[in-house]
């Protein structure tokens, strides 16, 4: 009995050893690295799966990998917001990717301040052609303390889309002011439709637009964003406007748990007659509805205000400091970054995913037939506006903690926990907590 047992154990042990040895042999069976060994670059991004940009972006990356055998491209994908958390964990462990897509300073300042993201100023100086692709203002959300840390990957335009036919059926013309919209709500809602499909995020965007319109000055807006001082009455008025809209029944029920793309689906399905959101969702607008859709400026709270539209750049491609410090990696990473942020991919994003890029349309080599009329109308509308008429979302200027506080404050306003008059002070409290 014991002899049988002993030999059985021996056999098992020998098998394990053999297995381990062969595994080890396999892993070292690769050829010895030569001078031309491929540089490994880890790229992390969230434009995958059902996100509209994925249709253009994923093939673009594959094409790059195929064209560049000298770069061993390792791609890490996690749909949408999940990539943010993944990068956070990797940063915490010191295992951050070499190149990654991420939001602007209001979500990445912690990484930049910890010295984990490379300052691209020198690279941009050495490659002025790259810098010239973009409107200088589009770098602002990736700039901190004099350094520039990212290349703009996209532009956000907050758009107001409405179904022209349905509006005229209800006897309502295009709403140009807030009052127009409020007046139109009963008629639009009469058939059981939702007048304006705006989830809680979009309602916050509208609030920020209204604050910007009432303050009516870009510099002052930025100062307000950073201090919360001096514009209490404007803030109260903007907050009240959103509450009025809500109480009139303009927004969908359950907007608090309605996420972004599903809110577009309400519009696609004809259940909502207009839609306010960030332009990255355009790729999911259904073609049938697109034919009936008119792109307009958001109904203004103050018709005399210069400010007409919210637009800016808040999504960038970054390089990690680790990659920057390694000369071979730096060059490969820069090459990849300039490809991803560059005109070729931008054109694809526009054609396939209807995603406006930070590179002006006329500088792209576009196949006009591929582009939807809605995105063309939207970009043309924006391009016709002067610099005073466009503002970024003021939350772009905030730190991550303050941004989270603002989002929470907006939610509380929208579910009635905070009164319109108290918002300004609550905002100052948010800023105080965050510092």
């Amino acid at each position: 009995m014991h002899q049988v047992k002993a030999s059985r154990w021996l056999t098992l042990a020998a098998a394990c050893a053999l297995g381990a040895a062969s595994l080890a042999a396999c892993s070292t069976a690769q050829p010895e690295p030569s001078d031309d060994a491929p540089v490994t670059i880890r790229l992390a991004h969230g434009w995958v799966g059902e996100v509209p940009q994925a249709a253009a972006f994923v093939p673009a990356i594959e094409d790059y990998a195929a064209d560049h055998p000298e770069i061993d491209l390792v791609v890490e994908e996690s749909a949408g917001n999940a990539i943010g958390e993944k990068i956070a964990t990797q940063m915490a462990a010191g295992e951050e990717p070499d190149v990654f897509l991420h939001w602007g300073v209001n979500r990445s300042s912690e990484y930049i301040e910890a010295g984990r993201v490379a300052d691209l100023t020198d690279l941009l100086d050495a490659h002025p052609d790259v810098e010239e692709w973009f409107d200088p203002a589009s770098f602002s959300a990736a700039q901190l303390d004099g350094g520039t840390y990212g290349l703009p990957m996209s532009t956000y335009i907050h758009m107001f889309l409405y179904d022209e036919q349905a509006f005229s059926d209800a006897g309502v013309g295009a709403p140009e002011t807030l009052d127009d919209l409020l007046d139109a709500v009963p008629a639009l809602a009469a058939e059981g439709a939702i007048p304006l499909s705006a989830n809680i995020t979009a309602q916050r965007y509208l609030f920020e637009l209204y604050v910007a319109q009432l303050i009516d000055d870009n510099e002052e807006l930025r100062e307000f964003a950073e201090t919360g001082e001096g514009h209490d009455s404007e803030v109260a008025e903007a907050a009240q406007a959103i509450i009025d809209l809500r109480e009139a029944g303009a927004f969908p029920q359950g907007a608090e748990s309605l996420t972004t793309l599903p809110s577009l689906e309400l519009y696609n399905a004809g259940q909502a007659l207009s839609y306010y959101q960030d332009s990255w969702t355009l790729g999911n607008l259904s073609p049938e509805v697109a034919d009936r859709t008119v792109v307009g400026l958001a109904p203004a709270i103050d018709a005399s205000s210069d400010v007409k539209m919210v637009s800016g750049s808040n999504y960038f491609v970054y390089m990690s400091q680790k990659a920057y410090d390694d000369p071979a990696k730096r060059d490969a990473a820069w090459d990849l970054m300039t490809y991803l942020a560059g005109p070729e991919v931008a054109a694809r994003l526009l054609e396939v995913s209807d995603a406006p890029s930070a590179i002006p349309m006329d500088e792209l080599n576009l196949d006009e037939s591929e582009i939807s009329s809605v995105v063309t109308d939207l970009i043309e509308m924006r391009d016709e506006l002067g610099p005073d008429e466009i503002v970024p979302l003021f939350e772009q200027y905030l730190s991550p903690e303050a941004l989270a506080g603002l989002q929470d404050l907006a939610e509380r306003l929208l579910i009635g926990q905070v009164g319109a008059d108290d918002v300004a002070q609550a905002y100052r409290d948010v800023l105080a907590d965050a510092s």
Partner: protein, 273 residues
């Protein structure tokens, strides 16, 4: 009287079953509809029994290799976890020694730990071991994290095993190893199967650690594939429903097949007395 009792019982049990089956059927139907159809008639049968959503979900989610990976990870982590846990559970409930109470407490303490708070330390450890971006890290993590619950449950069941049987075995001169393997383990087979199933499901469906530890698509598990349809970006409900169906059906099949073994073990009669 008895007829009413049976009637109530039937209504209750089949009513509960209805909640499960109806929802599943609804998911199945929804998977065959387009978005506009879903909004228009959420309850109706699909117009065309189209499998388009299923194929698209399969491709978008990369579900083919994800299934294989999930299977390997779940099976190996359950084998390891269950093996370790049953050893400890036996030691704690059937070997009298002074620290047994404390040892059980050490493992049971793990029940109160929110696993999501251990992400960063685990990430660091796996990176140090060099296995982070592979299924081995998941196997190890799932096996170890399953220990608190498994030890706790198995110890509870082993304790119920009649002391007389253990007594009789020891009188026969059996050492602990033999009592463990030949006497106690067969007696707690339903518990082992139960805990095994629980661990398997846990490993199969685990999402957070899989998404954090594993990056390369070759090692991706099923929940990651499904996560491509996750809320913020899930706008095609038919696709989502198809993804759900594809992720459930094989597990149900495996469970039904495995369940028969549990039934056999239960009716083996070893539990009498």
């Amino acid at each position: 009287m008895r007829a009413i009792g049976t009637g109530v019982r039937a209504v209750f049990t089949w009513g509960m079953a209805f909640f499960v089956l109806a929802l599943l059927a609804w998911v199945g139907f929804t998977a065959m509809k387009s978005n506009s159809e879903i909004f228009a008639s959420p309850f109706g049968l699909p117009e065309s029994w189209s499998l388009d959503n299923f194929t698209q979900a399969w491709e978008v989610g990369g579900l083919g290799s994800a299934f294989v990976n999930s299977g390997i990870v779940a099976l190996l982590s359950v084998a390891l976890g269950l093996g370790l846990a049953s050893c400890v559970a036996y030691a704690v409930s059937c070997i009298p020694f002074r620290g047994s109470s404390a040892l059980l407490l050490v493992f049971a303490f793990g029940l109160g730990v929110p696993l999501q708070s251990l992400i960063v330390p685990t990430f660091l450890k796996m990176t140090d071991l060099g296995i982070r971006d592979s299924i081995w890290s998941l196997i190890l993590v799932y096996a170890v994290f399953s220990l608190p619950k498994a030890v706790f449950l198995l110890a509870a069941f082993m304790r119920e095993v009649s002391g007389e049987i253990v007594e009789a075995a020891t009188v026969d001169g059996a050492g602990h190893f033999r009592i463990f393997g030949r006497v106690v383990l067969p007696l707690v087979r339903p518990a082992l199967a139960t805990v095994g199933i629980i661990d398997f499901i846990g490993a199969w469906n685990e999402y957070v650690y899989a998404s954090v530890l594993v990056s390369n698509p070759g090692a991706r598990t099923l929940p990651l594939g499904l996560a491509n349809f996750q809320s913020e970006y899930a706008s095609s409900y038919g696709l989502v429903a198809a993804g759900i169906v594809l992720s459930i059906v094989p597990v149900i099949v495996v469970y039904i097949a495995f369940q028969r073994n549990v039934v056999e073990g239960l009716s083996s009669g070893a539990l009498k007395g």
